[in-house]
Amino acid sequence: MATSTGLHGKIIKSQFFAFVRKEFAHVLRDRKTLLILFGLPIVQILIFGFALTNEVKNAKIIVIDYAKDVASRKIINKIRASKYFEIEGQAIRYEEIESAFKKGTIKIAVVFPANFSEDLSHPGSAQVQLIADASDPNTANALINYATAIIRDYEVEQNKILNVPLRIIPESRMLYNPQLKGAPNFVPGVMALVLMLVCVMMTAVSIVKEKESGTMEVLLVSPFKPILVILSKAIPYLLLSLINVTIIILLSVFVLDLPVNGSLFLLFAESTLFIITCLALGILISVKTASQQVAMLISLMGMLLPTLLFSGFMFPIENMPWPLQAFSNIIPSKWYYIIVKSIMIKGLGFSAIWKETLILFGITIFFLVVSLKSFKTRLE
């Protein structure tokens, strides 16, 4: 009896290896897809890491200086020196601002009225006008803030001689990301996105492809257990995904200077959990759909879009209306994103993320059970 189960196990093992090997052959043969599979995370990391900064800088500003006196010139020099602004030129008439806005050549304008210096020293107060192109509200807001800070700075310098009493000096410290780079926010998001793409879409498509071409039927008639079909489909994508995670982490450490502050082992363990969630989702989609096109559309619409929208890395969840906020809780990528951020950036241990892990685990179990169950019933 013992030998027969041993033999049985051996056969299952060799069946399994044959299947896994075949899956790898599929994946490796489609060079274009493979290229994109590995190219996408690399390009995204580079774009997010270097090209995209939420920081506003080098904003084009136009100056209308009716005063042309000491104070106005000093403030203009300060603006010129700031990294936030780039002076596009001087204008004479007010209408020039509007036409420049319409051409999109400037983002903000500053207007000094005549007798600026005089007003400042004589009645002790003078007016400056800031006009921002608020068709981009965040930039407008930030630019007005920066310009205000520059002018206030000048104000303080002027008043220093007078020694203002009761000064409160706020001292700010930026935690985790002192240079205010975009990468710490984006890298965990890209990880969630890429894993979603690889696992859900690729798994779903590869299973549906077997259905479409009729090979699934042949597999089901063979003594190969259906559960093993699923399992051996999942393994190559699990591996590919882990390679992708590794690439992303290597890039972020060596190219973006964004070290993994927490435990690398924990990061990989949590990633594996999330990958299994995605694989279960992919299997579920493949069970429910009959054509590759539909599988792709559902993966894109149903999985990638919510990941982009609700994981919190591109769009702030706390600003959403409550139905969307509530909805975001059932998106697994949201929890994965929080976990990765905690481990990678904040350097926290398991004790800080056990709750998120538990939720993710629950979601995973749920999808795994549902997808395996529907896979079995489909055989009927």
Partner: protein, 365 residues
């Protein structure tokens, strides 16, 4: 051409996509994509327990930007709130703050910001500094005789936000999303459609008929061109009905640009389709390109802030021009004269992409 239309409308997934995309993208995305920094959670650590510290904290929690997430005794407790993402900012008031302020005329406050999200951190810190400055002015006024304050010269800053005085983020997002929509319909669907014919083998069927190549290509492109314009119009109506966004420029300018742009993306779709054998590949390549286009198109982050090399990359991104022009015409009412450079560039895109596609198409067949 009739055949194309029939096929498009028979294919349920495409119809669903056409109906679904504008709705999801135009209604959910702007709701979700609210980047306005508000609801900042602040944790305070008050070592002073004085009237001033209480006043400052109540002033902060009274502002529309901040929610008080915790009133802590120890810094480590506040730090824990940050780790759990329950707080974005910590304000630490040192012991003896009130006493020392009066005695030494100067006192420090400590702010720690969770800076993983750079924008939020920056603006949050700026808002908080503003409130502290106001608070500072308040107590200064209490302490000083009115006559003395005349010695200080103040600059009165009047700021105005044109085109979007309420700083409504949706106004900013919607035109950009419309741009993405048009690109998806034009690029994605046309590429998928042609590759599908290739996969199924009907393309060979058509190649043996006396239909001329350019007729075939035109027959493929024109329905999608019309479809793109229809989707765009639906999008405009939706954004008017839902967000009250009215095109402030001329519709003629807008449609001319969009129509020209459609030719450019259709050319792109065609070009992609000549490279791909399967729908899966076409889908992946288009997805890849779209990701780059959207990220580098200035939808979320402004192009001016990018490093020089990245800005050079954006010159080759047609979507970037579309998003820019959409915002210019819809929000600012720019006319032909304002967008003529973009118009020329997109025309060049259309010519180059279509020529490449046709050349490549001939070669592969």
């Amino acid at each position: 051409m009739q055949k194309e239309f029939r096929q498009i409308f028979r294919n349920k997934s495409i119809v669903v996509m056409i109906a679904f995309m504008p709705i999801v993208q135009l209604i959910i995305l702007p709701l979700a994509a609210d980047y306005e920094v508000k609801n900042i959670n602040i944790a305070t650590v008050d070592h002073d327990h004085s009237t001033y510290s209480q006043k400052l904290i109540s002033k902060i929690s009274g502002s529309k930007y901040f929610n008080l997430a915790g009133y802590n005794q120890r810094y480590s407790d506040a730090m824990e709130l940050i780790e759990l993402d329950k707080a974005d900012l910590i304000l630490e008031i040192p012991a003896g703050f009130e006493k020392n302020l009066v005695r030494e005329n100067q006192q420090k406050l400590f702010i720690a910001v969770n800076a993983i999200n750079g924008v939020k951190a920056n603006l949050g810190a700026a808002y908080l500094s503003n409130i502290i400055r106001n608070f500072n002015d308040d107590i200064r006024l209490q302490w000083m005789q009115p006559s003395k304050s005349n010695d200080i010269s103040t600059i009165d800053i009047v700021s105005s936000n044109w085109y979007n005085p309420l700083l409504n983020y949706k106004v900013f997002m919607v035109p950009g999303i419309l741009g993405i929509l048009v690109t998806m319909v034009g690029g994605f669907l046309s590429a998928l459609n042609i590759v599908k014919e290739k996969e199924v083998g009907t393309i060979e069927q058509i190649n043996v008929t006396p239909v001329k190549k350019h007729h075939f290509i035109l027959g493929k492109l024109i329905p999608f061109w019309i479809l793109g314009n229809v989707v765009f119009s639906i999008g405009l109506v939706v954004s008017w009905l839902v967000y009250g966004i009215v095109v402030s420029g001329s519709l003629l300018v807008l449609y001319s640009f969009v129509s020209l742009y459609m030719f450019a993306v259709l050319g792109l779709g065609l070009l992609v389709s000549t490279f791909c054998e399967t729908q899966q590949q076409a889908m992946f390549i288009m997805f890849f390109l779209m990701t780059i286009f959207i990220l580098m198109g200035g939808l979320f982050t402004s192009i001016e802030s990018m490093p020089q090399w990245a800005q050079v990359v954006t010159w080759f991104n047609p979507l970037g021009y579309l998003i820019k022009v959409m915002r210019m015409v819809i929000l600012k009412g720019s006319g032909f004269a304002d967008i003529k450079i973009q118009l020329l560039i997109i025309a060049a895109f259309a010519i180059v992409l279509n020529t490449l596609a046709v050349l490549n198409y001939k070669k592969t067949n």
